[in-house]
Amino acid sequence: MIAKRDTALADTILFPRPEGLYCPLGDFYIDPVRPVERALITHAHADHARAGHRHVLASQQTLEIMAIRYGEDFTTHRQVAEGEIEIGDISVSFHPAGHILGSCQIRLIPKIGPRIIVSGDYTRTPNDICPPFTPLECEIFITEATFGIPVFRHPDPVEEIRKVIASMEEFPDRPHLIGGYALGKSQRLIRLLRQAGYDAPIGMHGALKRLTDYHIEQGVDLGELVHVDGVSGPRLCLAPPSAFSTPWVHRFRDPVIGYASGWMGVRARARQRRVELPLVISDHCDWPQLIQTIDDVSPEEVWITHGSEAGLLRWCELTQRPARPLRLVGYEEEDQ
């Protein structure tokens, strides 16, 4: 094990600016929320991966998903992140984050000063669509805190998805519509349904098609999927949550509407969504995973980006770990 480095210089290596987290040594931003000259992107969710940067460095899959979403001209120069990459006076490397297809944590290693990991969005829950998050050595660990309150303990996702199958048995005559974010969540739900033994065709809202096709191209086995157009269709359909407040939903008679998100673990949040079938399925860390990860990584300092930082800060205080909030703006709560 390499000796821990001094953290004194951390603030000069990486700090927040209105555009996002900025590293002057390499003159780049990580997941900037405004167009910049050079951007490193952790993953392709829209609030982290925006169009209009001149140079983009990201995983092959993240770049490809951005091209699908924004068009091939989303940036002028693309670079696939592989191995250690020197940018100016700093070395960066990308490592799996387990969040969605192509998602990465980014490790920054300056010549002098602490090693920093920007974990992006990540989860420790097994997800066979993408390689798992592995804890890496660093002095500064930057974590999200979407579910940084101890009430969030996500159940086993396969058990959760069985609720859909149970509800279909309970209401065999009602179509079941499950809402989930178009990138990552929808495909994950299909995988979970298949794991739980559901092998009938699954209907897909049109908005999910391109990204789902991309997952299939990447070798993810999703079973038989059908496009939902007419009145008759499969008994189970996936759709982006926004579809439920559009006339699209009118084609279904008396549907059971479900919604998959970590927020469904709290009843008031589930009720606000007005769903009949809340599913606590998330591609973010729950509270025990956040704590476990900080324990595993065991950094000198924890920096907290977005989400419910107060809870996690308090936990760091109780366990005597130096921690501070970065209060980055522009990142959304999961699926909100």
């Binding site: 009430v151 969030f152 309970e170 209401f171 439920f244 509407i257 709290v266």
Partner: protein, 514 residues
Amino acid sequence: MKAFATLLERLAFTNGRNAKMQILRHYLQDTPDPDRGWALAAITGQLELRNIGPALLRRMIAERVDSELFDISYDFVGDLAETIALLWPEPSANRDISLTDAVGVLQSSSRNGQEIAALLDQLDKNSRLAVLKLGTGNLRLGLSARLARTILAQMSDPTLPEIEEIWHALSPPYLDLFAWLAGENAPTPDHQAPFRPVMLSTPTNLEELEKLPIADYQCEWKWDGIRVQLVSDQGVKRVYTRTGDDISAAFPDAIELMDFDGTLDGELLVGREGQIAPFADLQRRLGRKSVSRTMMAEFPAYLRVYDMLIWQGKDWRSEPLSARRAKLDSITFPSPAMDVSPLLSVTTWQDLADLRADPPLSVIEGVMIKNSASRYVGGRPRGPWFKWKRDPMLIDAVLLYAQTGHGKRSGFHSDFTFGVWRDEELVPVGKAYFGFTDEELRQLDKFVRKNTVERFGPVRRLKPELVVEVAFEGLNKSSRHKSGVAMRFPRISRIRWDKPAAEADHLSALEALL
């Protein structure tokens, strides 16, 4: 406990009546005795276990979770029992406790909460919430006891009236009831002053009435009070609502008036010196567990009876209404605050229409028309009894906010807040969820989508342009509403696409109806 917890969760998130019934039916079919009996008791409000208070809850969690983390959590979750269920340490082994055992713990636990804590230690998250909701007496399922009994009737041979006839003599976990439903002998009630199923009426109108021979019917005023069944059985006296809830404790003054032996059907009102007060006065006494002396003095109970089920040991229900009424008329009630509802003297349906159009008191909400030959049967048989309510009050209001509905109305904006003018501004006066046809719902939904000004979560604020005619049954003063008035049973009766918003009604027009 897991199955019961899942049942509660499913019921809490399911909105449709039929869907709720299906969920409960499946549960009752799949769950063994005595667990299903305890579940039935919990759902029908027969299980009073209010032995966990907020102070105890807070003390229990304070021993387990850092207070600052608790505060952050509670702020986010907003419900104390749920916060604690979510924060409670997970059990080391995954096993299940029966609902029966959990109820046993809740019934016998001491004030320090040690037994409850030990119970929670063995349960998963959902089951912990179910236990805490049971123990705090706060299930809120949106499922009435009558609906639960309807499900029992659907599951087996005994009919709903047969089940209702003995329901109030049964106690949890209802082993004898379920045995009966499975084909064994009916349970024998040993309960005193039992509730009997109430006979209900169906709506009608002049056109329908014109087809009937008026000579076969007796007509009465329809009182705007609450329907009650007054039972005095060998000294045991009870006042039941029409759904069988015992409200005796809230109306000791009504109990005092009941100087007879039998079961009578009538209306509970507020009255002073023979004068019946408006519904708003009675409302002051509703929704209370008990009542103060001042309350009783200011809003004294008044009983107006109109039918007889049992009198001095004899069951009159199979006698014709004319005979029951003759018997009722022969009785003199000693108190001036209890009498028999008068019959209306009419020879044509038009006479009745005229009386209905101009009743002598505001507490009259229409007329009742009952076939003189009718036997007294529980439930809502079609035919023998009719209600003909007075015409609703109407105002023209402007749609202000809309929210999407659920179930069959998912994706449609079907919940509307409307307002009327006060000086230059529109103030919200109520919400309406129905009254429109499916086609009108589509048109309204289209209007909402085109005229949204602002969104707050699921709620949309609308350009104040569309006028709707709102029908409602009455108006009360309300300190909870910004406008100071609250409507009873409002619904959208017409969409006035033709009417400009400036011509909608003013608040003063509503206040004049108070």
